[in-house]
């Protein structure tokens, strides 16, 4: 499938904001551009028919992450340097360029986007099974929720534990025994 106009605009927006995030020396500027990037991604996900993911990216990627990043730089001092942009780190660019090229080479063997014969979509025993049986097996209509809390509920258990672990982690890292106050 060739990209339509919306996809092209999103493509350009996401790529530019990502580049700007990398380029800005000022951390506050980078955080704000990164929030715009996350929102662009969220819209991109929605265009690719993933409303749940779009909503999560907007609430967590653009929302909570940005808040925490802002809080962090408020707790620390921004670098008071004059340059607006980062200088280019050539050896890093070389390594990363090689890595990106490898990925691009593998991309040529990917199935086309939206192809109905891609195994991930067509696999009759997993993805198609979820579509056909999710309502019967779990009683909910949103197949994403059915897979998330039903079929792959254990992943979600692990995920909830990761969130809990992050909370415990900040307490240990910052040497406090309370989240707020006794």
């Amino acid at each position: 499938m060739s990209p339509g106009a919306i996809e092209l605009v999103l493509f350009a927006f996401v790529l530019l904001t990502a580049l700007a995030t990398a380029a800005f020396r000022d951390v506050l500027a980078a955080i704000i551009v990164f929030a715009a990037y996350s929102l662009g991604m969220a819209i991109y996900y929605a265009v690719l028919l993933a409303p749940d993911v779009a909503m999560t990216e907007a609430a967590i990627g653009a929302g909570v992450t940005t808040l925490l990043l802002l809080l962090t730089i408020a707790k620390t001092v921004r670098p008071g340097r004059d340059e607006i942009f980062e200088s280019i780190h050539w050896s890093g660019l070389l390594v990363v360029g090689a890595f990106t090229t490898v990925i691009l080479v593998t991309v040529t063997s990917f199935p086309e986007i939206g192809a109905s014969d891609a195994p991930i979509v067509s696999n009759p025993e997993v993805s198609q099974y979820y579509i056909e049986e999710a309502y019967h097996d779990t009683g909910v209509e949103n197949a994403v929720t059915a897979v998330l809390a039903g079929y792959r509920g254990f992943d979600t258990f692990g995920e909830a534990v990761v969130v809990f672990a992050a909370g415990v982690a900040t307490m240990v890292v910052l040497h406090t025994e309370v989240f707020t106050r006794d």
Partner: protein, 209 residues
């Protein structure tokens, strides 16, 4: 300020718990309004406009968070998104009314209770089916064995509502306040010397090794 890391760890548990119990306030919090816990730069501005806006908006976002949580079964959304929105509502309040008053208002018991309680509730929903020979998280047991009406659906949604949503909202809040309180350790000596001040590295000179 210990020379030897081991010595430091030896006293670690004791001192930190005592600190937390007897003297819970961080260095910042002793000056609740003048320099806010946002730290160097003092970003908190008491604004009637913002406070009123938040007072109006907060109930709606809170309700929206709950709505997302409860309606994950039939439409996009679920415990993670809903929990995050509920948590963010509290952060919004903290931004409007100041972090310190909000921190006082939200007791640690509530936050820990929600987070730990969420994990326990999730685990309990998962483990109960084992009692009757089922598997972990076998939601169907709730309708087939325990005879609950629409049991498998409610168990699945229960995981989102009493498990994930409380954990996520509590941890979002907890993360925010612990990070806002900052680190009260070795470096705190210079931190309290005023907002935006640069540290004197010599203070810690020769500490390591």
């Amino acid at each position: 300020m210990t020379e030897d890391p081991t010595e430091g760890t030896e006293a670690n548990g004791e001192t930190s718990s005592r600190e937390a119990n007897d003297e819970p306030s961080s260095t910042d919090s002793q000056l609740p309004t003048e320099t806010d816990a946002m730290g160097p730069g003092g970003t908190y501005v008491e604004s009637q406009v913002i406070m009123t806006t938040v007072r109006v908006v907060a109930p709606f976002t809170f309700t929206y968070g709950l709505f997302l949580t409860f309606h994950g079964g039939g439409s996009p959304g679920g415990g993670f998104q809903g929990g995050a929105v509920v948590g963010t509502t509290i952060l919004m309040i903290a931004f409007a009314f100041g972090i310190e008053p909000t921190r006082d208002w939200l007791s640690n018991r509530t936050v820990v209770g929600l987070a730990s309680g969420g994990v326990l509730a999730f685990a309990l929903i998962g483990l109960l089916p084992l009692l009757v020979g089922g598997r972990f998280l076998e939601h169907a047991v709730y309708s087939d064995e325990f005879g609950l009406y629409h049991g498998k659906k409610y168990a699945l949604e229960g995981v989102e509502i009493v498990g994930i949503a409380p954990i996520v909202s509590a941890i979002v809040i907890g993360l925010f306040f612990t990070i806002a309180a900052g680190f009260v350790g070795q470096g705190a000596a210079w931190q309290s010397s005023g907002p935006g001040s640069y540290p004197e590295h010599d203070l810690d000179g020769g500490d390591e090794e």
